[in-house]
Amino acid sequence: MNVSALTPSELKFRLKKAGIYLQTGSFTTHLKTTIPSVAEGIGLLYADYPLVEQDCFADFHISLTRPRNLRRWFKPQVLFLFDGNTIFKPLPLDQAFPMLEWGLNWCVSTHVNHCLMIHAAVVEKGGFAAIMPAPPGSGKSTLCAALVNRGWRLLSDELALIRVSDGKLIPLPRPVSLKNESIEIIRRYEPNAIFSRKVADTIKGTVAHMKAPADSIVRAAEVVQVAWVIFPKYQAGATACLETLPQSRAFMRVADNSFNYSLLGLQGFKAMTNLIDASLCYDFTYSKLDDAIEIFGALRPQASNNHHVYANEL
């Protein structure tokens, strides 16, 4: 059963009482909240996600609540609780849904160490994934939103999860986080895209989340081979340019964008070596989304017999 099977009032009731067990990719989140804007956000952006049976195992138990103090009435706030504990400082109540999204990212990025985790958007076409690691402000999510509205499958907007055991990428398709000008750019680019309400004055500016394509959610269990590592950079007025990046340089830059490369130790080094060896690596500068779509459409994976890493131990 998907979230969409519940009426808005049923969803609100469940969230308030026992909570829901929401399946996002390979993770199950037990979520409780009494906050109406969170229930509305779930109903809108998570409509196509499966609900797991009540009282089953959950990877994360979270709730969003309002503090039981004067803040209930004066400049109301929201708290994110993980296993019943406060994790972050409270935010204004208006930011409750973005806080849920940020909190879910935190849950994965701090608990999933059977994977090499990279701060990156990931999309797939033809059975091959493109990882786009980049710091905030590089246009990563904007490019990701455009690609998934033009035939690419959304694997993740924030977290590339590379399984250490076999190097396959585990999808985690969740809403795409857009901020400031990017929101209207994607609204114009794909008028049919579904967005959450804009929330202003967050730490990231004005934010809104775009619903993941239904097909990406249905295929969330299909792991993927990575074929490209592309560092995107939006630059106003720039001609789109895909420039080959030496793999050793790409290794270091992906490691810089990883949450747990150091934590994984030698396993992380080996997983990163295999990831880079399987990938063609590029720097990508762009200003127009259509140009970016065209260039991504022309990407071809390297031949499987073309991997040529020389790896050893001293």
């Binding site: 050793s248 790896a311 131990e313 001293l314």
Partner: protein, 93 residues
């Protein structure tokens, strides 16, 4: 005075084009992007400890040292040895 790899550490490495090498030091947990010359110094110390002169002789041909004077090449090797020592990859024996 001879240089050697730090005995208690395990160092893994990889390279795709010989120009740059990525080294991972299991003892420190650090990852280093090294030049081909630095990588050749480390590989040269795998078998046994060597002094700077012996190392310079061993690496001169491999690193195309004929393009520079002996003094310049020796200076470069000394510099590399000190850098690798600072990174905790080699030590005096």
């Amino acid at each position: 005075m001879e240089w050697r790899l730090i005995s208690s550490q395990a160092v893994s490495y990889c390279s795709w084009d010989d120009d740059e090498w990525v080294f991972y030091n299991n003892l420190s947990g650090d990852t280093h992007l090294l030049s081909s010359a630095a990588a050749q110094v480390l590989l040269g110390l795998r078998q046994s400890s060597l002094n700077a002169l012996r190392l310079t002789e061993a690496l001169a041909q491999r690193l195309q040292a004929e393009k520079v004077t002996d003094e310049e090449f020796s200076f470069q090797i000394d510099y590399l040895l000190n850098e690798l020592n600072t990174l905790g990859l080699i030590e005096f024996s």
